[in-house]
C-alpha cells in the first residue's frame, strides 16, 4: 500500500469527514452502552444488597418449659441469651407451647431466631452488638449452635417493628388484592372504550374530545391520580382509606389509557375483510365484533393490559396519597381492610434506620423486579406467539 501522500484518491478533507463520522457513530454506541451498563450495574448492586436477606441466623438453645415461661417468655432464657435472641421469637414461644401441651415441665431444644444485630454481625456487616455478645456468638458458632438458614419468615410474615421478624407477605397480599380491583375495573372499561372508539364511534366532536382526553390522561403525573383518589373516592364517596379498594380504583383510572390505546391498536390491526365477511353473512355489527373481531384482537389486548398492570404494580406515589403506607403487620383479608403494597413496603423500609431493613428493602426489590420481569416476559411471549401478518 502506498503512503497516503502518493495516493491520488487521498483527500485530507474526506479523511477528516470520515473521522468525524466515525466519532459520531461511536458516540451513539457509547449512549447505548451507557444505558446497558447502568442497567447491569444497577441489577448487580441491588441483588448484592438484597441476597443476604434470604438467609437468616438461627441459634440453638435449650429451654426448660414450665408455666412460668408461658406467663413470661422473656424469662425462659438467661441474660446472655436474651441479648442475642429475637424478642419476636420469645414473644411467640407461649403460642408454640400451647400448641404442644406435652412439653410442659420438660427441656426442649429449639432453633431460635437470632436478633437482627447478631444476624448482621454474622453476615459480616456493620452491627451494634457489644464485644461480649460477639464473643458469646462466636463461641456458640464454634459449637455448631449457630446456623444460617433460608429465611422463610421474610416470605411468610408481614411487616414488623422487629427487623428480623418482618417480611413481605402482607405486602404481597395487599398488592394482589389491589391488582384484582384494578384489573376488574380497568380491563372491562378499557376494552369497552376501545371497542366503542374503534368500531362504533361516529366521527364527531364528542369522540374527538374522548380521544384527546385519553392521550392527555396517559401523560398526567401519577401523583395527581392520588389526589383524585383522595378527594373523590375517600372524601366524597367515603371509600375506606388505605384499603385495596381505593388503591385499586385509583390505579385503575391510571392504567385505563394504556389499556385503551393498546386495545385500539389491536382492534385496528384486525383486517377489514373479516368484518366485511360478517356483513356478507348478515350478522349485526355487535355480533361481528363479539364473535370475530374481538377473539382475533384478544392477544394484542392482553399484551397491552399485562404491560399496564405491570406498571400499576410498581406504582407508589398515588398509593401513598391514598394512605397505603400504613403499618400493616397482618395480611388484609378483605378489600376494605387496611393494606400495604409491595412498592409502599419498599418505601417504608427504605426509611428505617436499622441496617437489617436495608437488605430487606433490597430483597423486596428483587422480588418485585422478578415479578415485573416475568409479567413482561409473559406479555412478550403472548405477542410473539400470536404475532400474525395479514
Amino acid at each position: 500500500m502506498k503512503a497516503p501522500n502518493d495516493n491520488y484518491f487521498y483527500i485530507p478533507q474526506i479523511k477528516r469527514r470520515n473521522q468525524k463520522a466515525a466519532i459520531f457513530k461511536y458516540l451513539t454506541v457509547l449512549a447505548i452502552v451507557f444505558s446497558i451498563s447502568f442497567l447491569v450495574f444497577f441489577l448487580v448492586d441491588i441483588v448484592r444488597a438484597g441476597y443476604p436477606a434470604f438467609t437468616q441466623t438461627y441459634i440453638k438453645i435449650e429451654v426448660s418449659i414450665n408455666d412460668e415461661v408461658v406467663e413470661n417468655p422473656y424469662g425462659a432464657v438467661n441474660g446472655k441469651q436474651l441479648k442475642i435472641i429475637s424478642r419476636a421469637w420469645l414473644r411467640d414461644l407461649p403460642l408454640l407451647i400451647k400448641a404442644n401441651p406435652s412439653w410442659i415441665n420438660t427441656k426442649q431444644e429449639f432453633w431460635a431466631l437470632a436478633n437482627s444485630e447478631v444476624d448482621q454481625y454474622l453476615k459480616g456487616k456493620e452491627s451494634r452488638t457489644s464485644e461480649r455478645d460477639r464473643a458469646y456468638v462466636d463461641e456458640l458458632k464454634n459449637d455448631g449452635k449457630v446456623e444460617l438458614k433460608f429465611n422463610t419468615l421474610f416470605l411468610l410474615s408481614g411487616d414488623s417493628k422487629i427487623p428480623e421478624n418482618s417480611g413481605i407477605y402482607s405486602a404481597i397480599i395487599g398488592s394482589l388484592l389491589t391488582m384484582i380491583v384494578t384489573i376488574a375495573i380497568a380491563f372491562p372499561i378499557g376494552v369497552m372504550t376501545a371497542i366503542y372508539l374503534e368500531e362504533f364511534a361516529p366521527e364527531n366532536k364528542l369522540t374527538h374530545i374522548i380521544e384527546v382526553n385519553i392521550n392527555n390522561l396517559a401523560a398526567i403525573p401519577s401523583i395527581l391520580f392520588g389526589l383524585l383518589g383522595l378527594a373523590i373516592f375517600i372524601n366524597f364517596f367515603g371509600v375506606p382509606r388505605s384499603s385495596p379498594l381505593v388503591g385499586g380504583m385509583t390505579l385503575a383510572l391510571m392504567s385505563l389509557p394504556v389499556i385503551i390505546v393498546s386495545s385500539k391498536a389491536a382492534l385496528k390491526s384486525v383486517p377489514a375483510s373479516i368484518r366485511q365477511a360478517g356483513f356478507g353473512l348478515g350478522l349485526t355489527k355487535w355480533q361481528i365484533v363479539r364473535d370475530h373481531v374481538l377473539p382475533v384482537a384478544m392477544p394484542g389486548i392482553l399484551t397491552g393490559s399485562i404491560i399496564s398492570i405491570a406498571r400499576a404494580i410498581g406504582e407508589t406515589a398515588p398509593l401513598i396519597i391514598v394512605g397505603m403506607i400504613a403499618f400493616v403487620p397482618d395480611a388484609a383479608t378483605s378489600f376494605s381492610d387496611a393494606a400495604t403494597v409491595l412498592p409502599a413496603q419498599i418505601f417504608t423500609w427504605a426509611g428505617m434506620p436499622e441496617k437489617a431493613y436495608l437488605e430487606r428493602t433490597a430483597a423486596a426489590i428483587v422480588v418485585l423486579l422478578v415479578l415485573l420481569l416475568s409479567l413482561n416476559a409473559v406479555a412478550i411471549y403472548l405477542r410473539k406467539k400470536f404475532e400474525r401478518k395479514w
Binding site: 449512549a31 369497552m192 373523590i232
Partner: protein, 302 residues
C-alpha cells in the same frame, strides 16, 4: 354502555381537574394567590415553631411561598434532561440508523427493562448507591456534599427518562422518509453527515415534542425525589445540597396527621393544580407537534 365506558376517561380528567380546583380554591380563600406564586419562603410549620420562641403575630403566620419548590422542581428536571437528552437521542439514532434489525431486537429489551423499573426502586438505588458515591467523589476534591443531594436525584431521574426519549425519538427518526437520506447520499454526504444535516433537522419537531413529553414526566416524578433529594425547600444553585419538588411537597403534606381542612393539606391541591396545568400544556403542545410531524411525512403511527 360502550359510550359510557369511554366517557369514564373524560370524567376522570374532569374529576381530577374539579377535585383539585375545588380544594385549591379552599386553600386560596385563606392564603394569598400572589404570595403562593411569587413568595420565596415555604414554611408551613412556623405557626407551630413560634409557640416555643418569639410570639409576634406577623411571623407566626405560616408561609406558603412556592418559588423554592418550583425552582427545585425545574432545577432537578433540567439536570435530568442534561443527562437524558443526549444519551436518549444518541441511543435513538443508533437504533434507527446504525443498528441491524437483529442487533436492534437484542438491544431494545434492555431499554424496555430500564423503562419498566418502578420509580421507588430507582429512588432506593439513588439513595443507597449513587448519593454516597457522589459524596465520596466530591470529598476527593475537598467539596462537601450532602447525603441527600439534588445531583444524585437528577442523575437517576435522567436514567429513568432515557428510554422515553429514545423510544419516541426512534419512532420519529424512523418515520423520516428514506428518499431524503438517498438525496443526501447522492450529494456525497456520508452517513453521519446525512443524519446530522438532513435526518435530524427534519425530525426536529418530533424530537422536541418527545423531549417535552419527557420533561412533563420528570416534573411529575415523585418517588426518586422523595427518597434522594430531600424534603426541605431550598432555594440554591448548588446541586450538592438537598432540594425539594412539587410532588414531594404534595406527598409530605398529605401523609401527616393534619385535619383535612388544614391549609397545609390543602396546599397539596394548590401545588397539584399548578403541576396539572403545566404538564397538560406541555402534553398538548408535544402531542399536537408529533401529530403534525407525522402528517407532514404521511405516516400515521400516533
Amino acid at each position: 354502555m360502550l359510550l359510557f365506558a369511554s366517557l369514564i376517561s373524560v370524567m376522570t380528567t374532569f374529576g381530577i381537574l374539579l377535585s383539585i380546583i375545588f380544594e385549591a380554591l379552599h386553600f386560596f380563600q385563606t392564603q394569598s394567590v400572589s404570595y403562593f406564586l411569587f413568595g420565596l419562603e415555604w414554611s408551613p410549620d412556623t405557626a407551630f415553631l413560634e409557640g416555643a420562641g418569639r410570639a409576634d403575630a406577623a411571623s407566626a403566620q405560616a408561609k406558603f411561598g412556592a418559588v423554592p419548590i418550583f425552582a427545585g422542581t425545574f432545577y432537578i428536571t433540567i439536570m435530568a434532561m442534561i443527562l437524558a437528552v443526549p444519551v436518549g437521542l444518541m441511543s435513538a439514532i443508533f437504533m434507527s440508523e446504525y443498528a441491524t434489525p437483529k442487533l436492534r431486537a437484542q438491544v431494545k429489551p434492555f431499554l424496555e427493562i430500564l423503562a419498566g423499573i418502578p420509580t421507588v426502586v430507582y429512588g432506593f438505588f439513588a439513595a443507597l448507591t449513587i448519593a454516597p458515591a457522589i459524596v465520596k467523589f466530591f470529598a476527593l476534591f475537598g467539596i462537601e456534599a450532602q447525603y441527600q443531594n439534588a445531583l444524585s436525584c437528577g442523575i437517576i431521574m435522567g436514567v429513568m427518562i432515557i428510554p422515553f426519549i429514545s423510544s419516541l425519538s426512534d419512532d420519529v427518526i424512523s418515520s423520516v422518509p428514506q428518499n431524503m437520506r438517498n438525496g443526501a447520499y447522492a450529494l456525497g454526504m456520508n452517513k453521519a453527515e446525512t443524519i446530522r444535516f438532513v435526518v435530524l433537522p427534519s425530525a426536529m419537531p418530533g424530537i422536541i415534542a418527545s423531549i417535552l413529553l419527557a420533561v412533563s414526566r420528570a416534573l411529575g416524578e415523585t418517588m426518586i425525589v422523595v427518597m434522594a433529594a430531600g424534603l426541605r425547600p431550598n432555594l440554591t444553585w448548588n446541586p450538592l445540597e438537598d432540594m425539594t419538588t412539587v410532588t414531594v411537597k404534595i406527598v409530605e403534606s398529605l401523609t401527616g396527621d393534619q385535619e383535612f381542612n388544614n391549609p397545609l393539606t390543602l396546599s397539596a391541591f394548590a401545588l397539584g393544580f399548578v403541576l396539572f396545568v403545566v404538564t397538560l400544556i406541555i402534553n398538548i403542545i408535544s402531542v399536537s407537534t408529533i401529530r403534525s410531524f407525522h402528517r407532514k411525512y404521511k405516516v400515521s403511527t400516533l
